[in-house]
């Protein structure tokens, strides 16, 4: 594992060009001012209620089950040129992924071309046979895609971006991207007059445009709603926030019903038809008649309305087939197959353990590798070799041998670091980036995304459920 690439420092005392102004400003800030700002930020987040629910847990002061995601004051800065390239790569990748999903549920050309093995799809729990032959508006399945990107150091000291994973089901975090920016502008307005930071506040507008753009063709003025599992869901704040920002209703399953193959919501003025559902509920819970019968989060009969084309679900049912870790290694080839283009964004080299040769290599190199569950998410069920003890590795080896097909392995990327406020002052911490790509009539996004930071020294796990925090992400305009 080579040493990490730092986003701000090029060497011992050398600051990268795009951080120079910020560095000068930071060096002029007395330490207690930054501490005070940090407390102010926390107080505001609490008052606004930007919290996530933790089941069965109590706050530090024993008062409740709502936690703040730690917010770091030092922004992650991306120069204009780097972003322009990344944006092109994201449009390309998401376009190909949508083509792939359409293909899987229609002609399956990519299987016949021998690029993706059929059994990888048909035996995959994320494959939804209910979607075979179903046409969705514009052929777009993943309307909101969160693509996780990291930067790793090259031997010559430069850094390269890699896509770590695609999130095409119900990616979350965009509200933090927006709230972090609002917070930074409130705390440090002077920084924004000194830097040309590309704005992101129009995201809800683009989202609404995207959702309206994929309404069933027969509808002129579509009614869009956001479907939430309810206020005890960990991302409830985001659901409420997006519904409010778009000016649409935030519904729960109990507010919806199906009649004559259309979906309606129960309102104070009687039933009202719903045309587009931005659902923040997993496939399995959408329709108790079609999927999990014990689900009370969905709406009975929804699937049949959906298949008839009388309502649009965002994202579509069955997008999980494209963001599964077992499919991930094939994405570069997909891009070439569907678009005839060279992939702009790198994939991380990946060893599917289902293949004997790879498994052998993985078992021999466990201390250097990251091993992930194929269907896992949220940083659970994984082994980070370099950060694990001999005992942990030995334990994991048994698990892996018992269920090799359930895992993939990747070299441990030294995620780039960014200076971060910690107990002892400012220190480098590992970060990633999740841009949110919107696909409707066009593929578009706001510049940047959500930067997550692993607050524990040396940790590579940035998930908020495991002690990660967030930072504002600045794309500097040229």
């Amino acid at each position: 594992m080579t040493s990490s690439f730092d986003e701000m420092q090029a060497g011992q005392s050398q600051v990268r060009e795009h951080y120079r102004l910020y560095d000068r400003w930071l060096s002029q800030q007395p330490g207690d001012v930054m501490r005070a700002r940090r407390e102010e930020a926390e107080m505001i987040f609490r008052r606004v209620g930007i919290t996530f629910a933790v089941y069965g847990a109590k706050d530090e002061d024993g008062s409740g089950t709502e936690r703040l995601i730690p917010f770091d004051l030092i922004p992650r800065v991306i120069p204009a040129q780097e972003w322009a390239e990344m944006e092109k790569g994201l449009v390309q990748r998401v376009t190909a992924l949508n083509r792939f999903i359409h293909d899987v549920y229609h002609g399956q050309d990519i299987i016949r071309a021998g690029i993706v093995p059929g059994d990888q799809i048909f035996t995959n729990a994320q494959f939804r046979p209910e979607m075979m032959g179903v046409d969705v508006p514009g052929g777009v399945y993943s309307h909101i895609s969160g693509i996780d990107i990291v930067r790793a150091a090259n031997p010559d000291g430069s850094g390269s971006y890699y896509v770590l994973e695609d999130n095409l089901r119900v990616p979350s975090g965009v509200s933090y991207m927006l709230e972090n920016r609002k917070m930074m502008m409130r705390l440090f307005p002077e920084l924004f007059s000194q830097h040309r930071v590309a704005p992101v506040a129009h995201y809800p507008d683009l989202l609404l445009e995207t959702l309206r753009g994929v309404a069933p063709a027969a509808v002129n003025e579509p009614t869009v709603v956001v479907l939430t599992p309810g206020m005890y869901n960990s991302a409830y704040f985001e659901h409420a926030f997006l519904a409010q920002q778009m000016g649409v209703e935030l519904v729960e399953g109990q507010d919806l019903f199906v009649r004559d193959n259309f979906v309606y919501m129960r309102t104070t003025q009687g039933p009202r038809r719903v045309d587009v559902i931005y659902r923040r509920v997993d496939d399995d819970f959408l329709d108790p008649l079609a999927f999990r019968a014990d689900s009370s989060l969905g709406c009975p009969g929804l699937l049949s309305v959906y298949r008839a084309g009388n309502v649009t679900l965002s994202n579509a049912i069955g997008t999980g087939i494209a963001d599964d870790k077992s499919i991930y290694p094939y994405v570069p080839k997909m891009i070439e197959f569907y678009l005839g283009e060279k992939p702009i964004l790198n994939n991380v080299p990946t060893y599917p353990c289902r293949e004997e040769a790879h498994l052998k290599y993985v078992l021999d190199h466990l201390p250097e590798l990251v091993v992930k569950e194929v269907h896992g998410a949220g940083g659970y069920g994984m082994l980070v070799g370099p950060a694990s003890t001999k005992e942990e590795i030995a334990e994991f080896r048994k698990v892996l041998i018992a269920n090799a097909a359930g895992y993939i392995a990747q070299p441990t990327l030294a995620l780039s670091t960014c200076p971060t406020f910690v107990e002892s002052g400012i220190a480098p911490r590992h970060i990633d980036l999740r841009p949110f790509v919107l696909s409707g009539k066009h593929v578009q996004m706001v510049p940047g995304g959500l930067t997550r930071v692993a607050l524990k020294a040396g940790s590579l796990v940035v998930n908020s459920s495991q002690g990660g925090g967030t930072k504002d992400t600045w794309v500097l305009e040229a």
Partner: protein
């Protein structure tokens, strides 16, 4: 608007109003308890307060004897008491959180901030150290909550359901307070001369406490320019439509807001509300007293209760299959 959303808004407003009224009643009892009076009188004040909210049994079974400190604890911080300030503020905030997207940022933050500050006050024992100021704080947060609503919300359905919740709850609370405070007086009240001269001093404090609990003391003086007379107090709090906490004023608000949200099935509810409003508008205090204040208030509470059920049925509870 979603029926569920309307339901949350309605209950958010009701719970906030209830928190305010609980604080008002506690405040008056607390202030009265500072006056030189017999232990019996003090105790009957606290008992009356529990009676208003129909909590006597629950209190007795869990707390035993009535003392000012224990009743205050029960009515301020006991989470198992649905009418405690704590339960009301928590319920108001939970309902607000469920529909935070429908509220303006200011309304939500006011509600959230109230809850966060209240928790801090509980931890600091503010209510024990300075009950008067703390009750004032609760009233103030309720004023703020209503004011922010009026000052920032679009006057659409959401707004009307909030208003209906506030005023239906207030009508209920004012009526209960009147019933309890007049009840011990009733026999005396209908005596040949009205009120016993021996107790004139006590009377003054009793009636002025009632007026103060609804911010009505100065209003009374302004309206009647007279000494405090029970029948005038009753008239002010029942029939004066210009007195913001009177039954008449509350019903005016309920009816006008109900008209804004009327739907196909709400005709009967609107009719009942209108009739109740008319009874107050055209009623006279001597008639009410002649039939008996307690009987009148009991009937009023019953009608308000049924109105609440009608509103739930017509607007709030999702109708099966739409």
């Amino acid at each position: 608007m979603l029926s569920r959303t309307a339901d949350h808004l309605y209950w958010m407003a009701r719970y906030m109003e209830r928190a305010e009224n609980t604080a008002r009643m506690l405040d008056v009892n607390y202030q009265t308890s500072l006056l030189p009076q017999s232990a019996d009188a003090a105790e009957s004040g606290w008992k009356g307060l529990l009676g208003i909210s129909e909590l006597t049994d629950d209190y007795t079974s869990r707390y035993g004897a009535v003392t000012d400190r224990k009743v205050m604890d029960y009515m301020i911080r006991d989470e198992r008491n649905p009418s405690s300030i704590c339960s009301c503020l928590m319920a108001a905030r939970e309902n607000a959180r469920a529909v935070r997207g429908t509220l303006t940022t200011e309304v939500w933050e006011t509600q959230n901030q109230t809850w966060l500050e209240f928790q801090r006050m509980l931890r600091n024992n503010s209510f024990q150290k300075d009950p008067g100021d703390s009750f004032e704080w609760v009233k103030f947060r309720s004023h703020l909550s209503r004011g922010v609503t009026v000052g920032t919300m679009l006057q659409d359905e959401a707004f009307h359901f909030l208003r209906i919740g506030s005023f239906l709850e207030r009508a209920d609370n004012t009526a209960r307070m009147l019933d309890v405070k007049f009840h011990p007086m009733e026999s005396e009240f209908f005596g040949s001369t009205g009120h016993g001269r021996d107790n004139q001093e006590y009377d003054f404090y009793h009636w002025s406490a009632i007026l103060r609990s609804v911010s009505g003391f100065e209003v009374y003086r302004k309206v009647y320019r007279n000494v405090i007379l029970p029948e005038k107090v009753a008239e002010l709090l029942i029939l004066r439509a210009d007195m913001p906490r009177s039954l008449a004023a509350c019903m005016d608000e309920v009816v006008s807001n109900l008209h804004h949200v009327a739907n196909e099935q709400s005709e009967d509810t609107l009719r009942r509300a209108g009739r109740l409003q008319a009874d107050l508008k055209f009623g006279r205090i001597d008639e009410i007293l002649a039939t008996g204040l307690h009987a009148f208030l009991t009937q009023f509470l019953d009608r308000v209760g049924r109105l609440g059920v009608g509103i739930s049925r017509d607007f709030l509870v999702p109708v099966a299959s739409g």
